[in-house]
């Protein structure tokens, strides 16, 4: 029996950092000794165009290199994308939809028609409050850690320290860690 992979699909707009977020997620899982994949879907689209990125996580080496068809988790970075039928494509009843939005579950359901578990988090607002930039990646990472348990808060923290520590001041690193924790704590899921 081949290994079961845990699969994620990200929806965002080109330039919103979903590719880096998917990489950070993979690295956080790597930090926990897992096998990981992270890859964007390359088209010719420019800044602002809807784009996708994918992750696979497994306890065993990952052999499959095709794109993710039936994701366990779908993450939407920009809630203006929710009306796009691509969002729920291939989702199963037990898949989870995590959305960066200031609106609630009802809005997400109305826009997507998705019946399974929905989680919302105002990640852009939290990012703005914590480090003054509307880049929701670290907040989303916290939310994913809470909802999926595939990565732990500690592994994500470790990863942020390593990646951001090289480029940014201690202050910015700490702000991102706060953002991560808030993502973990403030994500709001349906039953």
């Amino acid at each position: 029996m081949p290994a079961k992979y845990f699969e994620l699909r990200w929806h965002a707009r080109a330039g919103q950092g979903a590719k880096s977020a998917s990489q950070m997620f993979a690295e956080a899982a790597l930090e926990m000794g897992k096998y990981v994949q992270s890859f964007p879907e390359y088209g010719a689209e420019r800044t602002g165009a809807p784009m996708k990125a994918f992750n696979r996580v497994s306890d065993e080496p990952i052999l499959v290199h095709s794109s993710v068809e039936n994701p366990d988790v779908v993450i939407v970075i920009d809630d203006t994308l929710l009306g796009n039928p691509d969002i729920v494509s291939g989702m199963k009843d037990d898949s989870v939809l995590i959305v960066n939005t200031v609106r609630g579950e009802d809005f997400v359901r109305a826009k997507t028609g998705f019946k399974g578990k929905v989680c919302t988090i105002p990640a852009t607002d939290i990012a703005l409050e914590e480090f003054g930039k509307g880049i929701p990646n670290t907040v989303m990472l916290g939310a994913i850690a809470k909802v999926t348990g595939v990565i732990t808060l500690e592994s994500a923290e470790e990863r942020i320290r390593k990646t951001f520590g090289k480029k940014f001041s201690e202050e910015i690193v700490e702000a991102n860690i706060r953002a991560l924790r808030r993502g973990f704590e403030e994500v709001n899921c349906s039953a």
Binding site: G48, A49, P50, T80, L81
Partner: protein, 110 residues
């Protein structure tokens, strides 16, 4: 995305045998900020029309003169260039006096 066709159904050589098929691709979905036309402040100078990179400005000829009618939101990507080049829009003017105002797209979601 239209339905994908099989190899026997499409013209050879990757040739697109009809012009302007890109109109079927609505770039308006890219927009996060929306320009809104306040016609009462507009002097119909056509600067927005000239500079819109996505040809999303709708104009109409009235008495032989072009008039700005508003936006084609199917294509507007929300770059804001129209507001920037608009002589009746700048930071010093109060919002209600501007010809073009930029609003977050989320305000139009419901």
């Amino acid at each position: 995305m239209p339905e994908l066709k099989g190899w026997k159904e499409v013209p050879i050589g990757g040739i697109i045998d009809k012009p302007a098929t890109a109109k079927e691709y609505k770039t308006g979905t890219w927009r996060v900020i929306r320009p809104v036309h306040q016609i009462e402040n507009c002097i119909h100078c056509m600067m927005c029309w000239l500079y819109c990179p996505d040809q999303a400005i709708v104009i109409e000829i009235v008495d032989g003169k072009p008039k700005m009618k508003g936006y084609n939101y199917d294509y507007c990507k929300g770059c804001g260039l129209c507001a920037n080049v608009c002589p009746k829009t700048n930071d010093k003017l109060p919002v209600d006096k501007r010809a073009i105002i930029m609003k977050p797209e989320t305000e139009f979601q419901e």
